[in-house]
């Protein structure tokens, strides 16, 4: 291993320091190494998992690209017969689905997972098994979706799955089921990455790294992660409801039960618009990271950029209706969403001018990544401007659902995401290969991609203005579209050649690229402090960071880090450790003990794919078995967590002055629980949105005259839940105060109340005379009851698990952490029960249906 120890030291002490550092590195390597051979499947390290995400995403990108080429071939000439309507519909649906869900988001997540700990001075993400689990969910979900393509039953109703086209009447085949189940599976991976990245950025930064001094990239990823947390649950809810409708006939969206197909569109775009910014923000983060490096000076207006990131995050949740300008909504609503859509231009312009100002005042080195950033600028600004045009409602009425929108969307997504991504690829390539890319091939690849892209999509604006609608597999000659389409197709293939050249470039550079020196671009951020390729533990010791560009202000940083002069320079205990710091100020408060390599993520993801497949096959008993299997694996997972007494014994080897996080009452698990519950609350609010929409907007709504559930038993169940929560809360408070006596007894009482409460809920569900297959109203009520029941059951099972752990002395007065982590779930379940009661049963009494 490379090591430049400070030359000022006397030689002998330098040598002994060198020996110590080597010994330390060896211990760390033993503790952190991935298993080899098949065992590599059990690896959980963020570097490994991040790379797997990116490689898998690239493979899916190629599939999506081939589909695009097939479509462009079909449209090259009028009345072409290469593809028929059925194939074309499958291909454009799958192209959108694959590019959005299986390429763009996972690749960016992978990039964030790879970079964030290295940039913030952590040794790993905070929930390593969750990283691996997320990866396997993504991989298996993606493969399930692809399987439908290769068996010819792929979804063919568009990536937006509008009902009623996607319901069981109009799409009786299995295509939409593959989509709904597969995508939901992939979304588990996105949400878990969102939670993990949020907590990791907030709680595991290097000592001294405050929110104000963390790299700007971390702000972008924090915003992306939180947007995933709030943006994906509406689609998860909508997918579950639609799949239930398809499988059982519960009419959540169909007019026959009194619902409105537009409910699906609202829920879909409530996810779908933030999704665009979920894709754009990390890519913009790459731009904001690279520009200061190549300009050789700090980003100008850091605070302004942070503010505009946060603003984009908020505004993007208020824009979804601009995908629905043609559904016939009231004019004032159109005006509101039109102006809101234009507002996004302001934070985007702030970033743009911050980049320009940084370049302006620096001395720019025009390396290969800068070429891609220049391409990004031209294409993205163009896409942004057509976006402003589309936000004008009268213009939108004309070009909505034409090729103009196709062109706009590709300018924004390819320009805003793909070009910065490739810039980032070339920039960070030396980081994982230790070699530099070739400028020659890279330049060719850029120009082919850039020219091909513009040939395809610049002309497509005109095709759209000439009235060619989207999603048509063929067109007649003589509409003025012929030559435009032919040139677009040619351009598509030129772009494909450019992308092929990128792949060749990257592939040959692993063999022939010149060796990179450390920090080859002279960057300022911490990920360049490590040798290339990096060790699995990232840092031998974790340095204290006081400013945004530590590599620029402290030239000795790589050496002192490797010499073990900073935090956590000890691995003799064999634990995987990283520092837990406060979110705002970066004060170290405890040492987080991370879990090591594990097969459980793979088994859990396999059990869940079995669930997914058996639902697809309609084998519901098998599905039940798979659910039980998955639950058992997940419970085992939480049993052998990092706080396990055997893995982290209360012993005398805790040498650092900071306690292990399991000895504290506040740590990353608590934060992750809260962030997860925020996602969960968004899911619940989406359900509430659906309920209120149904009661007030749905034009054909049917609302039964009286409540047909047993309110007495339901309210009794709620009272018991309150009681159980109060008792649990009391037990937690006592243990925080150091009173462990009677803990088991208290938990047993909680469990007893919970048991009766669960029983009551199930009784209400089974006995209520709800017409769930005929009325949307009743189907929604039943869904609420199932949701509440699921939470009560979850609280019960996890509390029972805690009781067992208290008995084994894995949890107790000195190890209070897990009981405290569980507390927010109790609060949430109780709150959601009573809010549900108020909105589903109380509100109709106060405000009867019209």
């Amino acid at each position: 291993m490379e090591n430049d120890v400070d030359a000022g030291n006397p030689q002998s002490s330098a040598r002994s320091a060198q020996l110590n550092a080597d010994g330390l590195a060896l211990q760390l390597q033993r503790t952190w190494a991935n298993p080899s051979g098949w065992g590599a499947l059990a690896a959980v390290s963020h570097g490994t998992v991040g790379l797997r995400f990116m490689l898998t995403g690239t493979a899916f990108f190629l599939v999506g690209g081939v589909l695009a080429m097939l479509m462009r071939s079909q449209l090259a000439v009028p009345e072409n017969t290469l593809l028929d309507a059925a194939q074309y519909n499958q291909f454009f649906t799958m192209h959108g689905t694959v590019m959005m869900f299986l390429f763009a988001i996972p690749v960016l997540e992978g990039m964030a997972m790879y970079l964030i700990p290295k940039m913030t001075g952590a040794r790993d993400l905070l929930f390593p098994r969750l990283s691996a689990f997320g990866y396997y969910c993504y991989l298996f979900g993606g493969l399930i979706i692809l399987a439908s393509l290769f068996t010819g039953v792929a979804p063919d109703t568009g990536w937006f799955m509008y009902t009623p086209l996607s319901d069981a009447n109009y799409s009786p085949g299995p295509g939409p089921d593959f989509w709904l189940l597969g995508i939901t599976f992939v979304e588990i991976s996105a949400v878990s990455a969102g939670v993990e990245l949020t907590v990791s950025i907030l709680r595991s930064k290097a000592p001294g790294m405050t929110l104000k001094s963390m790299p700007i990239f971390c702000w972008y990823i924090l915003a992306m992660a939180l947007m995933i947390v709030f943006g994906f649950p509406p689609l998860i809810l909508a997918s579950i409801l639609l799949e239930l409708e398809r499988a059982t006939g519960m009419p959540f969206f169909s007019v026959s039960g009194g619902s409105d197909p537009l409910l699906w569109q609202h829920l879909f775009w409530l996810f779908g618009h933030p999704e665009v910014y979920i894709i754009f923000l990390p890519a913009a983060g790459v731009v904001s990271t690279l520009i200061p490096v190549f300009a050789g000076r700090p980003l100008i207006g850091y605070g302004w950029v942070v503010f505009s990131i946060v603003l984009i995050g908020f505004i993007s949740f208020g824009l979804w209706v601009h995908h629905m300008f043609t559904v016939g909504i009231p004019q004032f609503a159109q005006a509101f969403f039109s102006v809101a859509s234009m507002l996004v231009a302001i934070p985007t312009a702030v970033q743009l001018f911050s980049w320009l100002a940084t370049l302006w005042s620096g001395r720019v080195v025009f390396a290969l990544p800068m070429l891609w950033l220049s391409g990004f600028l031209v294409i993205f600004v163009c896409g942004g401007l057509t976006g402003v045009m589309l936000a004008l409602v009268p213009f939108n009425w004309q070009v909505h659902d034409t090729h103009f929108v196709v062109a706009h969307m590709h300018y924004v997504l390819v320009g805003g995401m793909f070009f910065p991504l490739i810039a980032g690829l070339y920039y960070w390539l030396p980081h994982f290969s230790g070699r530099m890319p070739s400028y020659m091939l890279g330049r060719w690849a850029f120009w082919l991609t850039f020219i091909g892209f513009n040939l395809t999509f610049l002309l497509m604006h005109l095709t759209g203005l000439r009235g060619m609608p989207r999603r048509i597999y063929t067109y007649e000659t003589g509409m003025g579209w012929d030559w435009l389409n032919l040139l677009s197709s040619v351009g598509g293939f030129v772009m494909a050649a450019g992308i092929a050249m990128i792949i060749v470039d990257v592939a040959v550079h692993f063999r022939f690229g010149p060796r990179a020196t450390r920090n080859p671009w002279n960057a300022g951020t911490l990920e360049w402090a490590m040798p290339m390729p990096p060790a699995p533990y990232n840092f031998v010791s974790i340095p204290t960071i006081t400013n945004r560009y530590p590599m620029w202000t402290d030239s000795n940083l790589p050496a002192s880090t490797e010499a073990g002069e900073h935090w956590l320079a000890d691995a003799s205990h064999g634990r995987r450790e990283t520092l837990c710091t406060t979110a705002l100020t970066g004060m170290p408060v405890s040492v987080i003990h991370l879990s090591g390599n594990s097969w459980l993520p793979l088994w859990a993801a396999l059990a869940m794919s079995a669930l997914c497949l058996s639902l697809l096959a309609g084998a519901y008993w098998l599905a039940l078995a798979a659910t039980l299997g998955a639950s058992a694996i997940l419970l085992r997972w939480s049993w052998v967590n990092g706080v396990h007494r055997d893995a982290a014994p209360l012993s005398n080897d805790e040498t650092t002055e900071l306690p292990l996080h399991s000895r504290t009452v506040e740590g990353p698990g608590l934060w992750a629980m809260v962030v997860t519950l925020m996602a969960n609350a968004t899911f619940f609010l989406s359900l509430v949105f659906g309920w209120l929409y149904f009661r007030t907007v749905s034009p054909q709504r049917i609302i039964p005259a009286e409540i047909r559930v047993d309110m007495a038993i339901l309210l009794f169940s709620g009272a018991l839940l309150l009681l159980a929560y109060g008792l649990y809360n009391n037990a937690v408070r006592r243990i925080r105060d150091g009173q462990g006596a009677g803990l088991q007894g208290r938990l047993m009482v909680v469990l007893f109340c919970g048991l009766i409460q669960n029983g009551c809920l199930v009784w209400v569900m089974v006995t209520s005379p709800l017409q769930v297959f005929d009325l949307t109203h009743d189907a929604l009520v039943l869904f609420l009851l199932m949701y509440l029941s699921f939470h009560s059951l979850l609280c019960w099972i996890l509390t029972a698990l805690q009781l067992l752990r208290v008995r084994r002395a894995y949890v107790g007065v000195e190890l209070p952490y897990e009981l405290i982590v569980l507390r927010p779930l109790w609060i949430y379940s109780t709150a959601v029960f009573w809010v549900g009661m108020a909105l589903f049963f109380g509100l109709p009494l106060a405000w009867p249906a019209s």
Binding site: A85, A86, N89, D156, Y162, P164, L165, Y170, D260, P261, R297, P298, I300, G301, W304, S308, T326, V327, G328, V339, M342, I346, P347, A349, V350, L352, F353, S354, L356, A357, L359, W360, S361, S374, V378, V381, C382, L385, T386, V388, M389, L392, P394, F395, W397, Q398, H400, D401, T402, G467, P469, Y473, T474, G524, N547, R548, T553, S698, P699, Q700
Partner: protein, 220 residues
């Protein structure tokens, strides 16, 4: 709008290229890298506040000022529904069913498939709905598109200024034959239209009469 936005694109690109290739002034040296609270200098404030805040705000206000009157022109056709011809358009997978409604009652005067007949220079009030999945009604030369959604009726008012045939199509993906779900708007002179609807009406009446008298073969 197009010219203005193209100018914006050109200006931003030119700024970028100039910023990349220019030689910086010596003033750019001597930055305090360890400062996390650096205030914007006057020059940088011009960039970020001027370019990022003022410039897009002003541009969008201008665009809105131009587009709101245009929008009103497009959507604000006079709305005295009584005088307008009222036509019910129902989309099916994959055809258009068009029913011409009586001026006062909702009696059906005539029905056509995939062809919409209207008089020239007269407002026509369309009731758009769907019998199955979501479709979208679009005659590019007459009006913007409007979706046709099961369970809902959207209203659209159109008026054609020249006689002739205007192509129309379904603009919302609606399944297998979406690409070929077309129709034509036939715009007639006032007299031709009256003649046409009278002939249609007679046909309808004849069919009705036959139905009443049971003279239509029942299909056996």
């Amino acid at each position: 709008m197009l010219v203005f936005l193209t100018l914006v694109l050109a200006a931003v690109t030119a700024l970028w290229l100039y910023a990349v290739y220019r030689q910086p002034t010596p003033a750019a040296q001597g930055i305090d890298l360890a400062d996390n609270d650096s205030k914007l200098t006057r020059q940088h404030a011009v960039w970020i506040i001027g370019g990022g805040l003022v410039f897009p705000t002003v541009s969008m206000l201008i665009l809105l000022a131009v587009s709101i009157p245009v929008g009103n022109l497009m959507s604000g056709l006079p709305s005295e529904a009584d005088q307008a011809l009222r036509i019910q358009v129902t989309a099916h997978q994959w055809r258009w069913q068009i029913d011409y409604l009586d001026g006062t009652s909702d009696n059906n005067l005539a029905s056509t498939q995939n062809a919409l007949h209207i008089p020239v220079n007269a407002p026509v009030h369309l009731y758009l709905s769907s019998a199955d999945v979501i479709h979208s009604f679009w005659v590019p030369r007459l009006a913007g598109k409007l979706d046709m959604i099961p369970g809902r009726t959207n209203e659209l008012r159109i008026q054609a200024d020249e006689p002739g045939v205007y192509p129309g199509l379904c603009a919302e993906f609606c399944g297998l034959a979406h690409a070929t779900m077309r129709f034509a708007v036939h715009v007639h002179s006032r007299d031709d239209f009256n003649q046409w609807i009278d002939s249609q009406r007679q046909q309808v009446d004849t069919v009705r009469l036959e139905l009443l008298q049971g003279e239509v073969p029942s299909g056996e």
